[in-house]
Point group: C2
Chain length 356, copies 2
DNA sequence: GCATTTCTGAGGAACGTACCTCATTTTTTG
DNA sequence: CAAAAAATGAGGTACGTTCCTCAGAAATGC
């Protein structure tokens, strides 16, 4: 049997009330007594029964997931994954609220963040570019004791409690090897496209990609990055121009989430199968492109995993509990047509036997 | 606030005791009353608080993980992963026992399985080849109400409650594409090695591999499978012979867990870098081989994930709860030198702040 | 319609923890 | 050394559930 608070009280020779005071950091206990209790805890290997504790507290973890209001398929899928994970997590007393902010307005985001403490939130996950305004807002929230974790794109200077997402430099490197090995010896040119060179994840991916290409595949000529600023029109325009100007393009690396416009372009120019295309994020649309051959490989992260990890991390941070790092390390997944995971069943209603 | 049993009693116009009888399937309640209670449950959207229920029950989930006693690095790593997951899961009242059986003796395994019901087990995960004896033993245990899940290698005809592991045919296909694409147009020969053609997972992998090779890479000549029966000596012998007899081997697909002997052989024959080697399972040893270049790519599954999934599934089955299928789908991971995940910290003792 | 069986209700104890109050002891301070 | 302050103990209630007993009500058999 696991030891309980009563056992500790007995072992430490103090009363239950004192153990409780120590355990919950309540004032009015002498240092000497505190260490006596802690020693008893260590001796007995006591681990607090969090389920019972939460039951007693009547606690629920109100947490926020804050995403930009862009309607990209990736953000949408992420929102869905979070919502699903959140609804399944009511069992573990997690109350997840999805909040959105105008993608181009860091001040509104800052205001949103600042309002969290008054509303009983015990944690927040944030997907946003790191501007000074945002950075300060994050610092403010954290200083009020609310943990903040960065989602998908890291915020290295905001001092977040954790980063939930993949190592983007490693992801870029992976894209590099695949590109290099799939293309064989070369020679040829490679187009690189991304939303913006200001976003952290883009920069990291490009760096990783270049690292591998320069070192291992010197015959492949990686052209300067093209920026789309999230616009299909711009993408079409810049890529078309680059293709026209470059005689021997044999690969395209799309660093952002897979662009619908890119697939379209590949179709229009009949490039499918003749050119190796690697992109990120397995959205429904990229799935199709993979199956039909416009896209050769996808570097992705499992959004369900990401969402559940977010919730676990927020909960652990709120409880001041240590993380199981190996569980929270989001894997970089490589998806080819052949290992395309079967589409899971649609969410569906809670079956009746839920409470059986 | 979530509704509680008291709310249901009020809503259904019955007493708490009756609600409890219905909820826990205890006898002595009229059909009519049962449905009245169930309707109230549905109306209020009641979901039992499992944490409170388990607390009241004083329940712990005693489950078994049954592995062969082979000392392969894969099985060893799996055992470690299970042990780690198990010790972290004491928080959720899971009491995992690791049991081993002599790899070549299905009768001992059957006896072990048969002994589970008397020992208070509420579930078991089993990694074993599917022989008739084992199949019947599994059926017997399940008929006693103890759920059994297959681990790593499926037991399709034993009627297990679940299979925790990857889709091996898809894994074989993935190995196929990688081999094909890495080797380019060919021509050349490919050696395929595996433990035994009787093991289900080997058969599935070979089928998937052939499917892709025949369809997409007809210039590559896949030679008949070689069997090692788990012996390093045999491996060395058969592969050496095959290499001597085949003029143009450019790839090796090792279907079992990465063989230390294979790496050794590649080194001895100075094949590293000149031949594409794909194998399964990212054991410590395969990690090194990947870093040093003897192995080109590894198809693997995350053992931590596998272990945690096993525990979640067993717990859900013991509770008759539905699974979150998408969470339990183990992904087929492709590991290259470039996306080699950072080795997580050694397990280490429980930090002091565990109970903070 | 009366005995018998089957249902139902009321209540309590327990699980391990949190959190509260009040009384008592111990320590500190002047 | 007394008074004030600080530390500790004792005890209770609560969280949402399980599981038990016993009394009383309702349905059933003859």
């Amino acid at each position: 049997m696991r030891p309980t608070v009563t056992d500790i009280a007995r072992e430490a020779g103090v009363s239950l009330a004192t153990v409780d005071r120590v355990l919950n950091g309540r004032p009015g206990v002498r240092e000497k007594t505190i260490s006596a209790v802690n020693e008893a805890i260590a001796r007995l290997g006591y681990v607090r029964d969090l389920a019972a504790a939460n039951l007693a507290r009547g606690r629920s973890y109100k947490v926020a997931a804050i995403l930009p209001d862009t309607e990209s398929q990736f953000v949408q899928s992420l929102a869905d994954a979070l919502a699903t994970a959140g609804s399944l997590a009511v069992t573990s007393r997690i109350d997840l609220r999805l909040l959105r902010f105008p993608a181009e307005d860091p001040h509104q985001l800052a205001a949103l963040l600042a309002s969290l403490p008054h509303q009983g939130y015990v944690g927040a996950a944030l997907m946003a570019p790191e501007t000074p305004v945002v950075r300060d807002a994050v610092r403010l929230v954290r200083s009020k004791g609310i943990p903040v974790v960065a989602l998908v794109s890291n915020l290295p200077n905001a001092g977040c409690d954790h980063f939930v997402g993949i190592d983007n430099t490693a992801a870029g490197r992976t894209a590099g090897v695949l590109m290099g090995r799939f293309l064989g010896a070369g020679p040829g040119q490679i187009i690189v496209v991304g939303q913006s060179l200001l976003a952290r994840d883009m920069v990291d991916r490009r760096r990783g990609f270049d690292e591998v290409m320069l070192r291992d595949f010197p015959n492949l000529d990686v052209l300067p990055s093209l920026e789309t600023h999230g616009s299909s029109g711009t993408l079409r325009e810049v890529v078309t121009r680059r293709l026209a100007n470059s005689p021997n393009v044999i690969g395209i690396y799309s660093m952002g989430d897979g662009h619908r416009a890119l697939t379209q372009l590949i179709d229009d120019m009949k490039l499918s199968g003749r050119i190796t295309v690697i992109c990120h994020e397995l959205t429904p649309h990229v799935r199709t492109a993979l199956q039909q051959g416009q896209v050769t490989a996808v570097i992705t992260q499992n959004l369900g995993h990401l969402a559940r990890s977010t919730l676990r991390v927020l909960r652990a941070k709120a409880d001041n509990q240590p993380l199981d790092e190996s569980q929270e390390q989001i894997r970089i997944e490589i998806v080819l047509r052949e290992n395309l995971p079967i589409l899971p069943d649609p969410p569906g209603p809670t079956p009746d036997d839920q409470i059986a």
